[in-house]
């Protein structure tokens, strides 16, 4: 008991000392000395494997202590939203997923503008489109430093294509799939020869087509432009569904997962780099039956994150120094080797070891090289804060076409109506 009390006192003393040094630093208001102890709270989601890099950083920066807090994607963003909204409880550094970025950009005054902390210096490290996703429309406010990205490729089942009498080598297959018209023709062949659909999920087909447009759901004035931008993609997907060339599985359902193992369809277009892990997890025994190649007419991006510094942080300089190191090409290469986070820094794409990465599961293909090519061809796109609402409603329409055999035109109009209703309320 005595020991406990003395420990408590010591702890309290240490805390008050930290408090003292903190206020001293403010008083002197100069550049903080390197001997000053700084603790940074760092929130991330998913499996980043950042702890290893943090340990490395702390070795070189003995004055900085980084507390990593790992959570689930939705939980972490909800917590961040609540603490930003309440004005207390936010960490020094927060990882924000690209689909959530626009929402938080609405509250950009609650974040540090990284441009004021030398962000311009690092711009050249990153892919242009990724860097732009992390800033305001006019580019004056840099909210986050890019971490990983999700460039997309087309995954395919070699056994199904073989049964349909189609080429199974990536180059040959890619040569036969120059356009979406080719894709459609090939789908008919697959259906005829094997009785299987070309793809099982309407969402992935639609995403692949959508991601090739220079504008998605909103223009930079936040006007809904889906009629002009993605209606063609919707019509194409709906036509494929109606002709039985695309199945009706929704992503993340058990049947979607088991279809990966069964080989009940031929290709998965628009699948990002991190989907490799999902496929392996769902189909551990299908090694060698999967392979990957380019998507006809170009790649897209799905997922990836940014590191931001909320205004509540008392140590923006230290935080920016750390995140600029964590997102540097060298660190991103380490994250790739460790956890497969695909780097957003084109420098890495020149690295021999990186380009030499092959995957036996995916028929020994040079996966990193394929995704790096894809990453370079991604078009920068403005998403807008209501991206998720539109996406959900379009998917609902496609699901209805697939599962209820509903009329695509009617479903589209209903979706537009639902979207406009929801957006009108904000």
């Amino acid at each position: 008991m005595k020991k406990f009390v003395s420990m408590l006192t010591a702890g309290a003393l240490a805390l008050s000392l930290v408090g003292c040094s903190d206020s001293n630093e403010k008083a002197s208001s100069g550049k903080s000395g390197s001997d000053e102890k700084v603790t940074l709270d760092f929130w991330v989601f998913g499996s980043t494997g950042y702890q290893k890099l943090i340990d490395e950083y702390q070795k070189d920066h003995p004055n900085v202590k980084i507390k990593l807090n790992e959570g689930e994607l939705n939980d972490m963003h909800n917590n961040l939203f609540t603490s930003i909204s309440a004005g207390s409880g936010a960490p020094d550094i927060a990882m924000i997923e690209v689909s959530q970025m626009e929402k938080f950009k609405e509250a950009s005054e609650r974040f540090y503008n990284l441009k004021e902390y030398g962000a311009d210096e690092y711009e050249k490290n990153f892919l242009d489109w990724k860097w732009q996703q992390g800033q305001s429309v006019d580019g004056s406010f840099q909210m986050g430093f890019p971490t990983d990205i999700g460039p997309t490729a087309m995954f395919y089942r070699t056994d199904v294509l073989e049964a349909a009498g189609l080429p199974t080598k990536p180059e040959e297959l890619s040569a036969k799939l120059n356009t979406w018209e080719d894709f459609y023709e090939m789908a008919k062949t697959v259906k005829e020869k094997t009785g299987k659909p070309m793809s099982d999920s309407p969402e992935l087909v639609f995403n692949a087509l959508r991601d090739q447009q220079s504008e998605h759901y909103f223009n930079e004035k936040d006007e809904l432009i889906i009629q002009e931008s993605v209606k063609d993609a919707y019509d194409y997907t709906a036509k494929m569904i109606q002709e039985g060339l695309v199945g009706k599985n929704s992503l993340w359902t058990p049947e979607w997962g088991s279809a990966m193992a069964d080989g009940s369809y031929a290709v998965m277009p628009g699948a990002p780099a991190w989907m490799m892990g999902v496929v392996k997890g769902n189909a551990p025994d299908a090694g060698g039956k999967w392979s990957l190649t380019n998507i006809p007419e170009g790649a897209g991006n799905w997922g990836g994150s940014f590191l931001t510094v909320p205004k509540e942080s008392k140590h923006p300089e230290e935080a920016v120094e750390f995140i600029s190191w964590l997102t540097s090409p060298e660190s991103q290469l380490k994250s790739f080797n460790d956890m497969g986070l695909f780097p957003s820094t084109p420098d890495v794409y020149e690295n021999e070891d990186f380009l030499g990465t092959t995957d036996e599961y995916f028929s020994g293909q040079p996966t990193a090289k394929i995704f790096a090519e894809a990453a370079k061809s991604v078009k920068p796109v403005y998403m807008g804060k209501n991206y998720a609402i539109v996406n959900t409603e379009i998917l609902t329409a496609l699901t209805n076409v697939a599962t209820k055999k509903a009329d695509p035109e009617k479903e589209w109009n209903k979706a537009v109506e639902r979207i406009e209703k929801q957006i009108g309320r904000q």
Binding site: N78, F81, I84, S85, K103, E106, A107, R110, K248, S250, W252, T253, P254, E255, K385, N386, A388, I389, T392, L395, T396, T399, N400, T403, K404, R418, K421, Q422, G424, R425, Q426
Partner: protein, 312 residues
């Protein structure tokens, strides 16, 4: 006791003493309030404040970050003129009928069976009937999600296949989704109500049954003239609580329909959750909460009214 009284009486004569006893009384009261304060403080922060705040929010437009803008009754107007809100309300009502009513009927039958003298290993049965209630809702929803699989190999699709029916798209069809969610609610809550009924049954004095047996009453008559009337307060209680619970149905549909918020499985609370945390429209979400509150008040009043009428 008398000693205290005389002391108080004697103190009353002294004006100073009166004051002292008053402060002591006050102290005692204060101590009492302090003892019960933790609940009230926590309730005020986590219960009362959010309730009042959502009433306030219901009249404002707010995205969670920026300035709040007063909009009067516009939010209520938007919600009440939204066909999707009415759809979510009718969904909730249908799931209430599908999930809650059978729950109460089967609960009584199960409780009667568990209470019967003929059953062996009573406690095992009681525990297993109650077990679903203590399982995590999320786990239940995931397991049911797998059983109500859209594919022909889903458990329920296999079962209906035995009767020659075609596989149903449980997760996207109007009735399929409602039946799936209601089944889940039924499975989870039937044990809870059974245990409450069981407690009610055990409180019925056995003399009544003995007397009835002597008078030659049949089992049916015993149930009709003793069990049901004696169980009435308990029945009213369960109808009451399960109605309120059914109107606030949330976790099960959220996990079944996921973040697609498909309208076939949208309940009122899921509707308001989507407004707030998906669409960043906290004003309309709060307005929905207020409307739901009023609906619950009305339904509860009807409940009380009917219950009192039956009581007379």
């Amino acid at each position: 006791m008398t000693g205290v009284n005389t002391e108080k009486a004697s103190l009353k004569k002294n004006p100073l003493g009166t004051k002292r006893s008053f402060t002591e009384k006050k102290k005692e009261a204060l101590a009492g309030y302090l003892y019960i304060s933790p609940f009230f403080i926590l309730f005020a922060i986590f219960g009362l404040f959010p309730i009042l705040f959502s009433f306030y929010l219901g009249f404002h437009k707010w995205n969670g970050f920026g300035e709040m803008e007063y909009v009067g009754f516009k939010n209520f107007n938007l919600i009440l003129s939204d066909p999707l809100f009415w759809k979510s309300l009718s969904n909730t009502m249908i799931m209430w009928i599908l999930g809650t009513l059978p729950q109460l009927l089967i609960g009584i039958i199960l409780a009667y069976a568990l209470n019967a003298a003929i059953i062996k290993y009573k406690s095992i049965f009681r525990v297993s009937v109650f077990m679903p209630y203590v399982t995590s809702t999320v786990a239940v929803a995931i397991v049911f999600g797998i059983m109500f699989n859209d594919q022909p190999f889903g458990l329920f699709n296999i079962i209906i296949g035995w009767f020659g029916m075609d596989p149903i798209n449980w997760t996207t069809s109007d009735w399929g989704l409602k039946i799936a969610i209601s089944t889940m609610v039924f499975w989870r809550w039937v044990g809870y109500n059974t245990i409450i009924y069981l407690a009610g049954l055990q409180a019925i004095p056995s003399e009544l049954y003995e007397a009835a047996t002597i008078d030659g009453a049949s089992t049916r008559q015993k149930i009709q003239y003793i069990t049901i009337p004696m169980l009435k307060p308990i029945i009213i209680l369960t109808v009451f609580t399960s109605t309120i619970g059914a109107l606030q149905l949330f976790t099960e549909p959220l996990i079944m329909v996921g973040r697609t918020y498909r309208e076939e499985g949208l309940t009122v609370v899921l509707y308001l959750y989507r407004e707030a945390f998906n669409n960043m429209a906290f004003g309309t979400a709060s307005a929905t909460a207020i409307i739901l509150f009023l609906i619950i008040v009305v339904l509860s009043s009807i409940n009380v009214f009917i219950a009192n009428r039956i009581g007379k």
